[in-house]
Symmetry: C2
Subunit: 367 residues, 2 copies
DNA sequence: TAGAGAACTGAGAGCGCTCTCAGTCTGTTG
DNA sequence: CAACAGACTGAGAGCGCTCTCAGTTCTCTA
């Protein structure tokens, strides 16, 4: 705090350059000198000034995390916390700082301008952004600026931006198949917002699972949600009129809404209605009944995003120094895993709820 | 990205200094010149280089947020998400960046060293830290370095560090009094970890409420928890043997554990057992039954932390420039609010659970 | 023990920006 | 119309660090 390289150099009786070498662990310093400098450094709690170092090196040690919007409820649902935790951890491991960039909604152009200029200012070595919040325009700008970036979730319009995401389709397929194997024939689904690629992929997984067992897709068993509990509740309430015996939900919050709707309608979960969620948040164990859910390795996805980004940054730097090995940065799809809890059960033909429109039960073959 | 002040100056046919004035909105630039420069700046998407600016100005535009530990479950409980959201928002409003500093546990000294030297490096204009995670030693060091800081939660050993926190004692008093007013006489409590000041304050609020109505404090009705669901469950399970008719829990997660324990013991909430939580997390509305909880303005606390910090930073800067008005930065206590939901009810003398050791019901006077 | 080569050290030129200070250019006044 | 205040502008000296390059000191080998 109180000291500069210059002062430490004076105190140790060497030049600035030598102190710099010692501080950065470079070779070519006599052992005795090295120790003397180290002692002075420690005695004075010297630490190199970050901004000066960035300026001199022409590189930043900061990674930007563009995700936080004015979207408090998204944050509070816990998904982002876990993700952020993985991201922060990996940043620390790579010795980068993680800086939170409150993402601007596409229509808030002044905020977006500030955001972009802060990125343009070279404060960030790279940026992690969420497909959900990153506007297409800002992605385009960042591409033009040549800022390394990684997207959490695929961004269809920007296929060239490396991304990390769970195997949404595979997971939804697995969750739906679980229900089908339990003998359910009328499996409904509550999707996420259909402008969201992950929601679409999950719906596709659901469709695939149905078609595999020869059940034709019934549009009336699909309701669009928005990944939130309230919408999940309303959607489920509407769906229950169609007498499904099971509902596959696009995420856990939606599933919690569905459970609430079922209870409200006097149905027992899982005896009258089986429910599957997606994300396997910690909350799944705390609901009544505990929620069967398709799990994704959220923290690991966050970590991998940073790993990918750091690789890109490194490549960019070596490119500048003449190294020419280019090649496309890979994206990563993470496997999902079904966590069976107590919200799903074998199809129950005797449930009063299932008697109305000819349930046609499937032969149960529990996994 | 691609441009420096120098280049913009050349393009606009003026000197560096003039471009600097325009970019920083300073006076004393002819209108015509100002516009010409602005145009060049915009055409080239110029933004000043952050590190260079910090270096030249001798100030950072970054605030450090020291809280994230390797404590994934703390994060995932949502409290920190909401707090972080308030913090991030206020930082953006004050035009600071928010950088996440993964806090080191006190026993991880190498990590702590890195952390401290990054702070010492002057990258941060100030630091927000959590009383829960900030080690006393790092606080002492930061005080020595003169880094402005604000603590989320009081740190008894550092009374001079400004802090923001909810009125824990008042809130606990309110929550407990609510139960007493419902006629409960055997009100148990599950505390937070007793090395945590907030947990202690909440316990004190509980004691105060009891003493106010002349009920003597019964140690056997107190169990120590750790703000987590699992410990809440176990603590409640143990407490139930003492036949309390109500439990005041130090936070919502603990309360959720208590609900689970009650159900496991065949008790109905609230008919056999009333339960109150603390924090009023969004999850309170989703439990069965919805949880009565003492609410604190989490996001506002986060925002205020930054407001306080920014004031300190400003004062420090003006001090350096000769301004001498010092004075102690204020701390802030935020009011709590009781959210009554369905987990609390009037004392029920006919509950089988309440028949054992002479319940001595209090006369119910519902609020 | 001279000479080559390796190991070590320091001087100095930036990185891109800010900010002071001196100089230039107005537009008023007396 | 000379003189002067006030508005404007640019030169230049850093901010604290890194990194190259030239110079110095060792350490071997012949």
């Amino acid at each position: 705090m109180l000291h500069t390289l210059e002062q430490i150099a004076a105190l140790a009786g060497v030049s600035r350059a030598t102190v710099s070498r010692v501080v950065n662990g470079q070779p070519n310093v006599r052992q005795a000198v090295r120790e003397r400098v180290m002692r002075v450094v420690e005695e004075n709690h010297y630490a190199p000034h970050g901004a000066a170092r960035s300026l001199a090196r022409g590189e930043s040690n900061n990674i930007g995390f563009m995700s936080w919007g004015n979207i408090a409820d998204v944050l509070s649902n816990g998904y982002w916390s876990i993700l952020a935790h993985g991201i922060a951890e990996s940043c620390a491991a790579h010795e980068y700082f993680l800086t939170v960039l409150p993402a601007a909604s596409s229509n808030d152009s002044s905020r977006q301008g500030i955001l972009m200029s802060s990125i343009a200012s070279g404060q960030f070595a790279g940026v992690v952004l969420s497909a959900q919040f990153g506007s297409d325009r800002s992605i385009t700008m960042m591409k033009e600026m040549g800022v390394p970036m990684v997207c959490i979730g695929r961004k269809p319009a920007h296929a060239d931006v490396p991304f990390v995401q769970p195997d949404n389709m595979g997971g939804a397929h697995m969750g739906t198949t679980h229900l089908l194997n339990l003998g359910h024939a009328r499996v409904a689904t509550i999707t996420g917002p259909m402008n969201n690629i992950e929601a679409i992929e999950r719906l596709n997984g659901y469709k695939l699972a149905l078609s595999e067992v020869g059940i034709s897709f019934d549009e009336s068993l699909v309701m669009e949600g928005d990944f939130d509990e309230a919408r999940g509740h309303d959607a489920a309430q509407a769906l229950l009129k169609k007498h499904p015996s099971a509902i596959f939900c696009a995420n856990d919050l939606t599933a919690m809404g569905a459970i609430r709707a079922a209870k409200g309608a006097g149905l027992r979960v899982p005896q009258d209605l089986s429910i599957v969620g997606f994300d396997n948040m910690p909350i799944c164990e705390l609901t009544t009944p505990p929620l069967t859910s398709v799990g994704q390795p959220i923290a690991e996805i966050g970590r991998s995003a940073i790993d990918l980004l750091v690789k890109q940054i490194a490549r960019q730097r070596s490119d500048k120094n003449g190294g020419g090995l280019n090649g496309h940065a890979p994206s990563m799809l993470f496997p999902t895993q079904l966590m069976v809890r107590q919200s799903t059960a074998v199809f129950n033909p005797r449930s009063p709820h299932n008697r109305s429109p000819s349930p046609k039960p499937r032969k149960s073959r529990v996994q």
